[in-house]
Amino acid sequence: MLDDIDIRRLILLSAARDAAAFEQLYQRTAPVLLGVAFKITGRRELAEEVLHDAFIKIWHAATRFDPVATRPVAWMATIVRNRAIDTVSRADVARVSTLDDSEGALDRLFDWSASSEDEADQAQMRHWLRGCLDELKGRERQALVLAYLHGLSHGELADHLATPLGTVKSWVRRGLQSLKHCVDSCMGVS
C-alpha cells in the first residue's frame, strides 16, 4: 500500500519547491489516483485530464498542507475526486462508465488494512469506518458506495437504482447520518 509517511515527506518537499520530490510523488501515486479518476469519468482521456489538473493543484496546495491534521494519500485522492466530479458535472460530458456495485467493491477498491507505518489512530479509524459501513442498511450502503466510487449525482443514482429521486436522497442522507453516528460512538464521542 501507499505509505502515508513517505507520501507526506514528498508533499512537504514539494511545498519547499523541490521539483525532483514532486516528480517522485507523481510516480508513486499517479497510477492509483488515475484509477480513482477513471472510476468517476469512465473515460481514460478525461481521467488523464483530471490527473493533470489535480497535480497542478497539488503543487500549489502543498504549501498549505497541514502534516499534523491531514492524511496525505486521502488528501490527494480528495483533490482528484473533486476535480473529477467538477468535470463530469459539466453538461457536455457524456459518461460511459461501467458501474461496479458488487458487494466486494468496497474491499477491492479501498485499503482497510493497517500497515506497520500507519499511525495507530489512523489504522483504528479505518477499522471503525469499515465496520460502520457494514452496519448500514444494504440500500444505504449501496447508494453511498456508488456515489463515492463513481461520483454519481442523486439523479444518476436514482436512474441506476431505478428508485424515485426522493427515496435515493433520503438513503444518502440517512446513510451519512448513521455512518457519522456509528464512527462517533466508536470514538466515544456522544
Partner: protein, 230 residues
C-alpha cells in the same frame, strides 16, 4: 445565514465529500470553506474520519504525456537545482577525493565545511499602498538571495509570484525566480550574479501558475524597491 451556523453543516460536509453536493450548492460550500474557518474545520474533521484509503489493487499507469504536460505547465525546470548545487554530487565528489587522497598520501582529514553564507539586506520592497514590506538580502558572495516578508504570504492556487530585476539602464525586466510564497531563499541565476547592484530595482509580480508565460511581467506588480549600496 452563514453556513458555519447551519444545522445542516454535517450533512453538507458529508454530501460534499461523497460528491452528491452539486452545482450552485457545491460552489457555495467551497466558498464557505475558504471564508468561514468553522466550515473548513468541520470538513477537515469529516475528511479525517470518513475518507477511505484508495487501494493499490486498482492501478492505471498514466501515459507519459500527462507528466510532461504537468512539468511544462508548472515550468518545473525552474525549481530544479543545477547539478553543481546538489548535495549528492558534492558528497560523491568528496568521497572520491577522500579515497584518492587516502591512497596517495595516507589518511588525510579534510575540513571543507563552509559556513552558512552571511546575508546582508540590500533592498526593501513595498507595495506603495502601505502594506507590509519585504526585505531582500543578498549573500556576501552574491549567489543567494533571501526574501523576508513581515508575515507569510502565499500565492493563490492558480498563481505564482515572480521576482524581477529591473536593470538601472531601464532595459526589460529580467526574471530572477518564480515563487510559491514570498518568504524564501533562492540561488541567484548564474547570469545575474553581480547584477543585483545599487541602481537596479527588484519587483514582484503576480503571474499564472508556474510564472509569466511570456518572459515579461504580465500580472500586477505588487512590490517594488530599489537596491541600495551592496
Amino acid at each position: 445565514m452563514k453556513l458555519g451556523q447551519s444545522p445542516h453543516l454535517d450533512a453538507l460536509c458529508g454530501e460534499y465529500l461523497l460528491g452528491t453536493l452539486r452545482g450552485p450548492a457545491r460552489a457555495r460550500f467551497e466558498r464557505a470553506c475558504a471564508q468561514e474557518p468553522r466550515v473548513a474545520l468541520r470538513l477537515q474533521h469529516w475528511q479525517h474520519r470518513f475518507t477511505p484509503q484508495p487501494s493499490e489493487a486498482f492501478r492505471m499507469p498514466p501515459t507519459p504525456p500527462t507528466w510532461q504536460r504537468i512539468a511544462r505547465d508548472l515550468d518545473l525546470r525552474r525549481y530544479r537545482q543545477p547539478w553543481y548545487a546538489r548535495v549528492g554530487v558534492w558528497r560523491g565528489w568528496a568521497l572520491a577525493t577522500s579515497a584518492a587522497l587516502a591512497v596517495w598520501v595516507g589518511v588525510v582529514m579534510i575540513d571543507r565545511s563552509a559556513p552558512a553564507p552571511a546575508m546582508r539586506p540590500i533592498a526593501t520592497l513595498a507595495s506603495g499602498q502601505g502594506g507590509a514590506a519585504v526585505v531582500a538580502s543578498l549573500s556576501d558572495d552574491g549567489r543567494w538571495l533571501a526574501l523576508a516578508p513581515a508575515r507569510p504570504v502565499e500565492a493563490g492556487p492558480q498563481q505564482s509570484y515572480e521576482l524581477w530585476l529591473l536593470p538601472p539602464d531601464g532595459s526589460a525586466p529580467v526574471s530572477v525566480a518564480v515563487m510559491g510564497q514570498l518568504g524564501t531563499q533562492l540561488p541567484v541565476p548564474a547570469a545575474l550574479v553581480g547584477r543585483l547592484q545599487a541602481g537596479a530595482k527588484l519587483a514582484v509580480s503576480v503571474e499564472p501558475a508556474g510564472g509569466s508565460p511570456t518572459g515579461a511581467p504580465t500580472g500586477p506588480v505588487i512590490l517594488v524597491g530599489a537596491i541600495g549600496a551592496v
